[in-house]
């Protein structure tokens, strides 16, 4: 029952996100558009490139979808609405999201095409940039909660949300989350103007539908993670807890979606340089500050 509700919320949010994305691109609000375009994809010819690595080519979209769902499985919508409240929940999200890289490498290597291959290996470079930036803020969050359990992390924010307590961590996590979901301005693996779609380029039909669904679900999962870690999860007056979770998750997801339209794509060299020379010292500083706050403030 819980599983059904959480999955329904996850895919419902993904659908809503697709509607909003369509709205920003075409200017028309079409609720049925994602479903219709998904069905259209199923009906289209599924082209397989010449001599692909078949295992990787088939597995990549599925793996990406599985990763997004697994990540969402440990995130609570309400105190009693979580599929698996693992003892190492915060770490498990990171473990699941690490397989986004594996999925993109498969999607890059599988189709035996130059655009996809460059896109896939570029994402590896991107991972080198964002991976520390996503783990260190989680560390600081777990420090405040003195637990890795996600419901405990939300519980620790009952009187003060982490975005106020550790704003530096929030900024770094948000940026790293956008880089992980390869959303603009970090959409290096699927750059339309540089790689004609990159890792998405060789997928058609059913596989493309799964890939697109997986990308949206990944954004929703990351938005839910941001909500749980920094925005106080289900805390809020008047409305029931699950409603607050949903509202916050959708707000973060929409902001991630829209931010990209107003910024040009970042250069890979700049991304790596800034994350390593600026991002990691800031993340360490964040941990130190949070540590001091925990020890000093009663």
């Amino acid at each position: 029952m819980t599983v059904a509700i959480v999955l329904l919320t996850l895919f419902g949010s993904a659908w809503l996100l697709a509607v909003i994305e369509g709205w920003t691109v075409t200017g028309r609000l079409q609720p049925a558009a994602p479903l219709l375009s998904g069905l259209a994809h199923l009906g289209r010819e599924s082209i397989v490139p010449r001599s692909p690595d078949r295992v990787f080519f088939e597995a990549a979209p599925v793996l990406l979808l599985v990763v997004a769902v697994l990540g969402a499985a440990v995130l609570p919508l309400a105190p009693d609405l979580v599929i698996a409240d693992l003892g190492t929940g915060a770490l498990f999200i990171n473990a699941a999201l690490a397989y986004v890289l594996v999925a993109l490498i498969m999607a890059g290597w599988g189709p035996n095409g130059a655009y996809a291959m460059i896109g896939g290996w570029r994402f590896l470079g991107q991972l080198i940039a964002y991976s520390m930036l996503i783990v260190m803020p989680i560390t600081a969050v777990a420090m405040r909660a003195e637990s890795l359990v996600n419901t405990a992390i939300v519980g620790s924010q009952a009187d003060l949300w982490n975005i106020v307590y550790q704003p530096l961590g929030f900024v770094l996590f948000y940026i790293a989350a956008m880089a992980l979901a390869f959303r603009s301005p970090f959409d290096l693996p699927t750059a339309e103007g540089e790689l004609a779609g990159g890792v998405d380029a060789e997928y058609t039909g059913v596989r493309l539908a799964v890939l697109r669904l997986a990308r949206l679900t990944l954004v929703v999962t990351l938005a839910a993670a941001t909500t749980v870690f920094y925005l106080g999860g289900w805390h809020g007056p008047l409305l029931p807890p699950w409603a607050w979770s949903l509202i916050k998750t959708l707000a973060v997801a929409v902001s991630m979606l829209l931010a990209g339209g107003y910024l040009p794509r970042i250069r890979e060299a700049d991304l790596m340089r800034w994350c390593w020379t600026l991002g990691i010292p800031l993340a360490l500083l964040n941990i130190v500050i949070v540590g001091l706050l925990i020890l000093v403030v009663p």
Binding site: G87, L91, A95, L101
Partner: protein, 178 residues
């Protein structure tokens, strides 16, 4: 207990199966990712044995590490696509011998070492994490700190040795190819 043993066997066989695939395939990326999934299976074995932190950590680290190994294999090996059907095995007799000896040693250690009494009930995951933390920062702090600093030094030294000598004028110059 029965379910645990069953899943342990399943994941163990998966780990061995993927491990064999590492050497049966000629494609470098398939080889690296097969090793990745072998390690993931080992991580799942940890989860089955109720050491949650170790299992999750294993799964997370291996994903990143093996992917980076994949690109290094593509860089340094001559036939990354594997379409040439290169034989991946070398020094066959020596390696078979070494493998048998290593397997014998591992089995001997597993059977003959004194592992202490089996706990009736594994502690809860949160408790395990807590105690692991105490251990890392208490009794084993010196070991892990030394190991961490040594690895970091080795990484920096290796990178410094690998990059070509830069002329001062090239500093920050975007003309140099990355």
């Amino acid at each position: 207990m029965g379910a645990q043993a069953f899943f342990l066997a399943v994941f163990g066989l998966a780990a061995i199966g993927f491990g064999v695939a590492v050497f049966r395939t000629s494609s470098m990326v398939r080889s690296a990712l097969a090793l990745l999934f072998s390690q993931t299976a080992v991580g799942c074995m940890f989860l089955v044995m109720q050491t949650e932190f170790l299992g999750v950590l294993q799964i997370m680290m291996m994903a990143t590490e093996m992917s980076i190994m994949a690109i290094f294999m593509v860089m340094f090996m001559m036939d990354p696509g594997g379409l040439g059907g290169m034989d991946m095995t070398h020094q066959k007799r020596f390696s078979i011998g070494a493998g048998v000896v290593a397997a014998g040693a591992a089995i001997a250690v597993a059977l003959l070492a004194d592992w202490g009494p089996v706990t009736v009930q594994a502690p809860a995951a949160a408790m395990q994490t807590r105690e692991l933390g105490h251990e890392l920062l208490g009794r084993s702090m010196l070991i892990f700190e030394t190991a961490g600093v040594t690895i970091l030094t080795a990484m920096i030294a290796a990178t410094a040795v690998a990059i070509p000598v830069q002329r001062l004028a090239d500093n920050g110059d975007k003309e140099v190819s990355e």
